[in-house]
């Protein structure tokens, strides 16, 4: 086995945003996962869990947002597990900057408490899902696979926040579909994916995909809002170009 450090360094050196030619070594269909976590035990634990799974591979781990900012640009994973509370910049800043630069990485916020404002902030900034830290290893894997497949988790509390975010005045630029609204409403009441699927006559996967779309729209809306804020927005004066 080739030491990761050597390959990593080579990779870092030679390739930017492109699959290395020896990428086959990592198995082409493997899901590449990078982990940003400041506590070594957890970082290593997660790396261990990821690497234990045949179709998942841990591409890199980072101990800080600053490290991750450069690392994630050079070494682009499919998924990134991002801790929020980091020394220095937060995970949210990191996600926002990378997403603003057009990074294709699917971020999963790594959190202990799913209903916090920070989780929603991260989701709005560009994260596609979240991962609870006390989730048993097998469920972590499932969650990662779901995320990779275009599915996302969403708690009732976050659903409510999403709904209110779309209902905010000045947030009318992007509208949710009826189905998406239905799903959000049910989620807000505490329905499980399974129940929502049953109720709406769709599969759980579809529910997840809907939620993923909702997150995408949330990102766009969030970005639009940010731009609007910066340039004054439509109807609030001439754009400063």
């Amino acid at each position: 086995m080739v030491p990761a450090s050597i390959f990593g360094r080579l990779y870092n050196f030679r390739y930017i945003n492109k699959s290395p030619f020896w990428a086959f070594l990592y198995k082409m269909d493997n899901i590449r996962v990078s982990i940003v976590e400041d506590i070594p035990e957890i970082r290593e634990g997660m790396r261990f869990i990821v690497n234990q799974t045949p179709d998942l591979i841990c591409l890199a781990t980072y101990g800080s947002a600053e490290e991750a900012m450069t690392g994630l640009v050079l070494d682009v994973p499919d998924l990134c597990i991002m801790d929020i509370a980091l020394p220095g910049s937060t995970g949210i800043d990191c996600i926002r900057k990378l997403k603003a630069a057009g990074s294709p990485i699917q971020f999963a916020v790594f959190t202990i408490y799913e209903n916090s404002d920070q989780v929603f902030e991260a989701l709005a900034a560009g994260a596609s899902g979240y991962l609870l830290k006390d989730t048993p290893p097998d469920r972590i894997i499932t969650a990662l696979r779901d995320l990779y497949a275009g599915g996302s988790p969403m708690s009732a509390s976050i659903a409510r926040k999403v709904v209110s975010s779309f209902q905010r005045p000045g947030a009318a630029a992007i509208s949710l579909s009826t189905r998406e609204q239905e799903i959000l409403a049910l989620l807000a009441k505490g329905f499980l994916y399974k129940e929502i699927a049953q109720q709406l006559g769709i599969t759980t996967g579809t529910v997840r995909q809907h939620i993923h779309h909702i997150y995408d729209k949330l990102h766009v809306q969030n970005r639009t809002e940010a731009i609007n804020k910066f340039f004054g927005g439509p109807g609030s004066g001439t754009p400063r170009l």
């Binding site: 209903n115 830290k133 708690s155 009732a156 009441k189």
Partner: protein, 660 residues
Amino acid sequence: MIRKLYTVSRQGPFSIALFLSMLFSRPVTAQVTLGFNKDSMWHLLVSRPDDTLKVPVLILLGQQYEYNQPDSALYYYGRVGQLSKQLHYPAGYIRYVSNYASVLNTRGKFDESIKLNLQAVDTCLKYKLGGINYVRAFGNTAAAYQYKGDYAAAVDYYLKTLPAAESLRDTQTLSTLYNNLSGLYRDLQQPEKALGYSQKSLDLAEKSHDLNLEGNARINLGNLEKDFNQMSRGLQNIEKALSIARQLHDSVMEETALINIGDTYEKMHDPVRSITAFQKALPLAEALKDVPGQAHVSQGLAVGFFQTARYHAAQSLLVKTIAFDSAHGEKKMWRDGLLLMSDVQIALGRPDLSRKYRDQYDSVGEAFLNASLLKNIQELETKYKVEKQQHDLLKKDLQLKEKDKAAIRQRTWLITAIVIVVLLTVLFILTWRFSRQRQQLQQRAIRTLEAEQENVRLKAKLEGQQHERQRISQEMHDDMGSGLTSLLFLGRSLNPPDEKDREISRKMQQTAEGLIHKMNEVIWAMSYEQDTLDSLVAYIRTNAAGMLENVGIDFRYSVQDPPPQMDVNQEFRRNIYLVVKEAVHNVVRHSGASIVQIDISVIDSTLAITIYDNGKGFDPAAGHRFGNGLKNMARRMQQVDGKIDWTIDNGTRLDLRAPI
């Protein structure tokens, strides 16, 4: 019949004429027209029986004799008195008295006259006689007093008479009364009153077109005016009276008028005219056998001669006059005549004779003086008394007025004081209310401010609490969470070969997981933004579903739709959530149920949660195995003032009720 009396004037040496009349039933003219004469009346008297009709006859008869034979008159009048007493005829008695007394008056027997008149007054009062009889009795009494010179009594009786006389509407009586009163006041030296009554009398006479009365009234008024130095007016009145007298052929009135004209001219120092008037009066007086009149006229003529320096004429006239006066007892005239004679003798250059007459004058004067003096003193006293009475009256009037004034002043002050008090009170009330309003406003403002401050404080406190809760959450999340997660991952990284050690590792992981889970619950419970019923219901649902899903129990969940938007505090949320969790936990662990049904509804601000399972149930009384859990649930429900009930019936039904 008019009686006249010449009284003494204190002002001058010569007397003035004044009528002082007694009140009689018929004027002289009446008997003349009725055609009576003494003989026919005598016959009438003899032929008629003794009845009341005899009274007027006797009186008429008496009146016929009265002027020339007073004693005969007195005889007839006396018979009237006897007859009236005999017949118990008080009106007749009073007529007797008035006539009899008038004769007594002419004779100067005033005391007898007064006595008799007072008897008439008594009779009048005794029989309660009114009208003319009352007026006669009282009026004649007054006149008698006036003759006597007792002016106080005279005024008293006149004033008693006056109202009755005025209501009687007998012009002559009233006129006589006025004349007498006028004379009385003249004697009392009160010109206004004297003239006033005299004028009243004249007005009355003119009004009643009684020339006789008018003439007498004018003589009286003229006399008064003369006495009070209004000569021309007095002369006018008397001359008018003279023409009236000639028109009426009333020689008595004519004589009186002429005497008075003479007096007036004399007083005006016009002796020529004075002599003319007196010369005209003299034959009339002689014809009438009017002794005082003759005396007066002679005296007047003598003065006139003296003043025109016809001393011899004056002397010869005075010799006769003095003889006449002394013969007829006209003391005043006699005395005046002697004094004038004395002056005339000096003028004729006979001082011896003059002294002789002067001595005679003095001797007559002394005797006369005493009476005159007495009378004057009495007059003075009466005048003083009347004046004092009037003064008292005036004083009383003044006092009353002053009292009135004082009362008005007091009332004014009182009203002013009341007004001031009222104003002050109103002012005070207004001020008080104003200040109270201001105080209230201030207090309200202060209260509002305090309330605002309290709000701010509470808000700050709440915010502080929120901050604190957030901080604790954050710290738990960051530090404990990280630590526990580390512990969890460390446990996972352990892979001991020993089975026993593996078990320990697994338990460690479970403990860490459990702790993380519990911590999450605490963070959820503490989170301010989760303080809604929605959040609680969703949280219960998510967690219950999660728990049941793993063990393959069918889960039904129904929530009242739409759930009311209500806030629930963290303690409530935590306790309710934990009770439901415990219940679901129990179902999972002990019931062996295949279905769990959770119903949540809100009725009247009470949260009702029913958890039903189709498991084997348990005996709550003997349930010592889950005793702690059940006690915990009950305790938690108690903390939120709620109730918890179990029903075991084909499974277990748990009812939770908690007021929000």
